[in-house]
Symmetry: C2
Subunit: 197 residues, 2 copies
């Protein structure tokens, strides 16, 4: 059966989004049709405005609508510790821990198995930060996967040229996790990194 | 920490949608920021266009961008059987079964426990259809819950004034379901409606 064309088009657009399957897309589309016109317009405008006004901070790469971003402008931050992450969403998660250093976001979907190359990353602001001499420690907050490993080695190579400590987030059992269900690599890392009590 | 205002606004808008929690909203918003500008615009426009152009068919209540809808205009449909459903999304599901009768959609979120009243439903097209004399059977495809029960009785009262058969979708075990996990009401209905082999 054919759905109304504008409805089908909306479903097609929604399916392109991550985590949205055909059933959810249909449900969302039918819900949007029932919204007061004003509310559906607000949703559409929020999409356009966010896409237009938000960009990576020129200093750290975090997403912002003012350059430099609020984190870079925050003078209470500890400028001696620089946390390097792959994505802005990682920063949002790290901020929730209470970490109050500074950041550098790589902002690149780097699937090293695919077409992306390390050379394509804009690392100039990172190198400038290192050269400034303010940084005492670089914390690599990279995902615990193969891409993260390759990236960590690459960035370590750059950071080693400066007098900084380089660290990486600890691997181990997630809090609330179950040893029984931990994969062997995680468990081995947890053993290697065991802490004396 | 503060997110960029347009980003926060987009997340707030997305959270209002069904099935979208805070984490998914954030993920969708960050994804939208990374879309090519053209694609984010297409998404926004699909929302506005669908909301503007799609409306309930004046004859059957199904969602359409042309009045009457494609189902009402389809002359191959069996006009003697009328399926009554609560929502357009129910029609989409029923169409997949191969049912080729006609429909009437109530188009009302009727939570009878809440403020909606049966009197608020626009049943005029339904009564007109009954009065036309073309209909031989009314199939009530209402949800198997309390609202559905109340609604079924109410509509049966109206349909009884005409010379039509009235039926309701069968209750029973869902195909692929497990007797062990069926609730007692479903199982009782399945027993009552058992079929001789």
């Amino acid at each position: 059966m054919r759905l109304a064309v504008p409805l089908e088009n909306l479903i097609d657009q929604l399916i392109k989004l991550p985590t949205i399957g055909p059933k959810t897309a249909q449900r969302l589309a039918l819900y949007i049709l029932k919204l007061p016109e004003e509310e559906s317009r607000q949703l559409a405008e929020a999409i356009i405005t966010a896409r237009e006004k938000v960009f990576p901070c020129s200093a750290c790469g975090y997403l912002t609508d003012v350059d430099p971003c609020s984190i870079c402008r925050d003078e209470k931050r500890d400028g001696s510790i620089l946390c390097v992450a792959e994505e802005a969403s990682d920063i949002i998660a790290i901020e929730r821990t209470g970490f109050r250093g500074r950041y550098f976001v790589l902002n690149k979907d780097f699937h090293l198995m695919g077409d992306n190359r390390l050379e394509d990353l804009n690392l100039k602001p990172f190198v400038n930060k290192l050269a400034s001499g303010e940084i005492k420690e670089v914390v690599l907050a990279l995902n615990p996967d193969i891409d993260g490993e390759v990236m960590a080695r690459f960035l370590t190579g750059i950071a080693r040229q400066h007098d900084v400590k380089i660290s990486r987030l600890a691997h181990g059992l997630p809090v609330g996790g179950d040893i029984e269900f931990a994969d062997e690599i995680t468990l081995r890392k947890a053993l290697e990194g065991r802490k004396e009590l």
